[in-house]
Every structure is written in structure tokens, then in C-alpha cells.
């Protein structure tokens, strides 16, 4: 358990990749030639954080399905931890996106497809959080949360594909056929940051899972001692 909790290797690897990605973004990738100019540098962490948030919600979806099939509470814990981290990364996406929006579009917010659907994702998973807090019985809470996580996940692919299905929005398509048109150096910086951010998610997920297991151990010990 102690090894699982500390496991610093993943944090170190994630940190190194994120620093390398950032250095490449500033010293290797060129300044964007479009109207975004230097503010485009926000993209190198903003987009990986967004993708990572969606991955976390994807993990919560898989964990919810596995819980409903098996009834094993370890999947409920994984789902809970994934949603918590997904929300953390989503908040970062919204904050950095607003700053970038102000720099690039001159407005903190725009009701365009990607932003609107991402905001909806945040509200849905915040509701998941609220739902968990109002149900006391463990198995019932886990079942409700799993069903809600599956329903909430419907908005995740909609958010991801919003820029592809509704190209009239302000958000550009970065990766995919006909999209982005980024230079190779920009793509390299982006992918290294992406891998670093994903590793950071895995490291945080492992630690948060260990915390949930430790909490269970404390509860068991208190129960066995009549406290």
C-alpha cells in the first residue's frame, strides 16, 4: 500500500515530459502566424488538459459499466476518483480557455459549440458529485452514481466532435483530416505535453485510489473498535 501511495516515478516522468513539452512549445515551435499570435502558446497545455479530462470521464464510464456488471465497489471507487480528477482538469480547461479566448477573440466567453458542450460536461459531472453526497447507503450510492456516469458520458463524444460536426464555431479542429494545419514542431510539442498530462492523470488517479482505500481501512478499523 505504501509503495502504491508514494510511487513517485510516474509523477517524475510526467513532470519531465511536461517540462520538455513546455520548453519545446516556447523555444522550438514557432509563434502562430494567425491572429492568435503568441497567445497560441496556451494551446500546448490547454488542449492536452482538455483531452485528459475527457479520458478521465471515459474511465469513469468504463468503471460504471464494470460496477453495474459486477457489483464490486472497487469500480465505484475508480469511477469516483476519475470524475473528481476529470472535474479538476475541466476547471483548468475552462479557466485557461477563458484566458485564451480573451486574448484571441477579445471575449472571456462565447456560446459556441465546443465551449457550450464542455460547460455542460462540467455541470453534469458536478451533479454526479452532488448525487453521491445525498445517498448514504454504499451500494445504492454506487448504483445511482454508475447509472448517472453512463448517462453523463453521452455529452463527452458530443464535446469532442463538436468542432467537427459544427465547424462554424470559433474552435479550430486541431487533429484530423483537413484540420489544424500545425507545423511538425508544434505537433511534437503538443504530443509530448499530451503524453505528460496523461501520465500525470494516471499518477494522480493511482494516488487518489490509494487514498480512498486508506479511508476504507480507517472506517473498518473504527468499526471494529466500536467507534
Amino acid at each position: 500500500m505504501k509503495k502504491l501511495v508514494s510511487a513517485p516515478a510516474l509523477f517524475i516522468e510526467a513532470g519531465i515530459l511536461l517540462i520538455v513539452g513546455l520548453m519545446l512549445a516556447f523555444w522550438y515551435a514557432p509563434v502562430d502566424a494567425s491572429s492568435m499570435g503568441f497567445s497560441q502558446k496556451i494551446f500546448y497545455y490547454h488542449a492536452p488538459i482538455a483531452e485528459t479530462a475527457l479520458v478521465a470521464f471515459g474511465v469513469a464510464f468504463v468503471a460504471a459499466v464494470l460496477y453495474l456488471r459486477s457489483g464490486n465497489l472497487k469500480w465505484d471507487r475508480l469511477g469516483f476518483v476519475s470524475v473528481r480528477l476529470g472535474l479538476l482538469f475541466s476547471i483548468l480547461v475552462m479557466l485557461t480557455g477563458m484566458i485564451w479566448g480573451k486574448a484571441a477573440w477579445g471575449a472571456w466567453w462565447a456560446w459556441e459549440p465546443r465551449l457550450t458542450t464542455f460547460l455542460l460536461v462540467c455541470f453534469l459531472y458536478a451533479a454526479y458529485w452532488v448525487l453521491r453526497s445525498v445517498v448514504d447507503e454504499e451500494q445504492r450510492r454506487a448504483t445511482y452514481a454508475a447509472v448517472f456516469a453512463i448517462i453523463a458520458f453521452i455529452d463527452v463524444p458530443i464535446t469532442f466532435f463538436a468542432t467537427r460536426f459544427l465547424p462554424e464555431g470559433l474552435h479550430p479542429v486541431v487533429i484530423g483530416p483537413g484540420g489544424g494545419g500545425m507545423a511538425g514542431s508544434m505537433l511534437l510539442s503538443f504530443f509530448i505535453s499530451m503524453i505528460g498530462m496523461t501520465l500525470l492523470l494516471v499518477a494522480l488517479m493511482r494516488r487518489d485510489l490509494a487514498i480512498e482505500n486508506l479511508k476504507d481501512r480507517v472506517t473498518d478499523l473504527k468499526t471494529s473498535q466500536g467507534g
Binding site: V5, S35, F38, S39, A103, R207, S224, Q225
Partner: protein, 59 residues
């Protein structure tokens, strides 16, 4: 937009990311430490309770 103007926004965005992630990392690290301490105390308490009970049983 000049580089100097853009740099303010870029610095703000990266500062927020760094601050949030570092705060979360240290908060979870503190939580782990606190929980491990609780478990250690509870296990010691359980051993203390078991010891006299065993002694009584042996007599």
C-alpha cells in the same frame, strides 16, 4: 497582438495550471500522510485492547 501583450495571457494561464496542480498534489500528499497516521494509531489501539484480553484469557 504583440508578443508582450500575449505573454501576459500566456503567463496567467500557465500560472493557474501550475498553481492548481501543485496545490492538488500537496493536498493529496497531506491526506495520505494523515490517513496513514490514523491507521497506525488505530492499529496500535487495537493491539493494546487485544493484549489485556489475551492476558486475561491465559490466566
Amino acid at each position: 497582438m504583440t508578443i508582450a501583450e500575449g505573454a501576459k495571457y500566456v503567463a496567467s494561464a500557465y500560472a493557474i495550471i501550475l498553481a492548481v496542480l501543485v496545490i492538488y498534489y500537496f493536498m493529496s500528499a497531506r491526506r495520505v500522510t494523515a490517513l496513514q497516521r490514523d491507521i497506525q494509531l488505530l492499529e496500535e489501539e487495537a493491539k493494546r485492547r487485544e493484549a489485556p484480553a489475551k492476558g486475561t484469557g491465559a490466566e
